[in-house]
Homo-oligomer: 250 residues x 2
DNA sequence: CGGCCAGTTGACACCGTTCAACCGCTGTGG
DNA sequence: CCACAGCGGTTGAACGGTGTCAACTGGCCG
């Protein structure tokens, strides 16, 4: 993690170490006033890993400043009562900004690691008040990315083997973390358990474990010092058919 | 189908038999001018089953007037070159209205049955020109539903058995068809092949076949005269944990 | 009549699950 | 300081849902 944060996001005057600002500034150009809005830290809230974010402050729009969260659902048949991760939220990403009327049809947003959030209402406000501003456009692109990640999840579950699913997911994590200025070209801070990976990829913990060993053996994914490392992202992308979302030209 | 179309959508003056108008009018109240916009049929286009809709007129926004379509992707590993259905488009639903900059990151929209579409630009225009109008709100709710259906797909692939997946999908089809004024309380016109169901649910055609037999044996799904029939939707919902999207209060 | 497509059936293989045990680390309390 | 508990990770063995291969049926259409 220290390694990641010590190298500035290459260009821009954006203050390093702020994933929210880094992320939005890369999506669209922002004027100084908008940058100031994104740097505000109103109503900062820290939660333990495992805590629910929907109970506390959501569904008002908030930024995830640090830590990882996920939208989870519990499978209704009382058989097993398995928990399913629908989508992840990574540092720098907005929570529940969907400019839509409904408050997450079902399920909850849960912190997977210790996490910190802050209010995003002032930033989200610009969506309606000045829809053509850079910040508003950045929000819309962000929502578009969120949908693309949801499609990625469908592709993983529907079209890939366990080996490919894990590879695909780590490539997406790498893309999203570097997009927030966290992590380096081939690594990023990572603290999820194998059980959580299984809940997202619909695999048993045991099989996640065995498959991660295969990925390590093949030199596609490593773990060291709280980092996940993808030594050869291109070869990994080839192994699972991953397509970077940046390809879409905004 | 005739049965379905002969019963008006309960109240309203909406002319029966128009799935586009039926669907949007149920999502939000529309004024006479907006109803007139939705009844317009500009640039009507008929395509054969199997034809691509992205090649011809998309990505300009269009309505699917009749027939079924799907967003498909081809799995990149040349092994098998399996086709995966990411999401379905049912009669009355908009195609590619996502008020977003990108043109469907990858893949194509394909007609699964013979289908007819028409231009929706004039209707979509109101999203930006009068964001508070009923029609604009209906579009946003529609987009929200589309996302909910995408989540449904994730739930099916990640959390359900083959038996439950099919059950879940047919319940969603029933909900969406009745929402467009097509189909009755427990049935709707249906013309997909078992192969297409397999492509959507990530199941082999053989296994779709066997599982459908189980569903028939258990009295959950039947097929007759071009209709799919769910004799006991409540029991079916119990069998797979299906949650209707109407529950979310708009 | 012949071909094609969707549906159907049987036998077998495999990927991933389940159950169970064990390891190593960390935090905590006696 | 050590004992213990708890959690995440690891390993082995057996089971089972689903895929694959192959063959056959029946209806539609040229």
């Amino acid at each position: 993690m220290t390694l990641a944060m010590s190298q500035p996001p290459a260009g821009r005057t954006a203050p390093a170490g702020d994933p929210v600002l880094n992320r939005f500034h890369r999506l669209c150009d922002l004027d100084p006033g908008e940058i100031e809005i994104l740097r505000r830290r109103d109503d900062v809230l820290d939660v333990r890993g495992g805590a629910s974010l929907t109970d506390s402050h959501l569904p008002s729009p908030r930024f995830l400043i640090s830590g990882w969260a996920a939208w989870v659902k519990l499978s209704s048949p009382e058989a097993g009562q398995r928990r399913q991760i629908i989508s992840f939220y990574l540092p720098g990403e907005p929570l529940a900004v969907c400019a839509r009327p409904h408050p997450l049809s079902s399920g909850a947003i849960v912190a997977l690691t210790p996490a910190r959030t802050c209010d995003a209402r002032q930033a989200a406000q610009r969506l309606t008040q000045s829809p053509d501003s850079g910040l508003a456009r950045a929000f819309r692109v962000s929502a578009c990315l969120a949908e693309a990640y949801l499609v990625n999840q469908t592709i993983r579950l529907g079209g890939l083997t366990a080996y490919q699913r894990l590879c695909h997911l780590f490539l997406e994590f790498l893309e999203r973390m570097t997009g927030a200025g966290l992590g380096a070209q081939r690594s990023f801070p990572f603290a999820l358990t194998q059980e959580m990976l299984g809940e997202a990829l619909s695999l048993s913990t045991v099989h996640v474990n065995r498959t991660l060993q295969e990925l390590r053996r093949d030199g596609l994914v490593e773990f060291a010092g709280g980092l996940a490392i993808l030594p050869d992202p291109e070869r990994a992308a080839l192994a699972c058919g991953y397509q970077a979302q940046h390809a879409a030209l905004w």
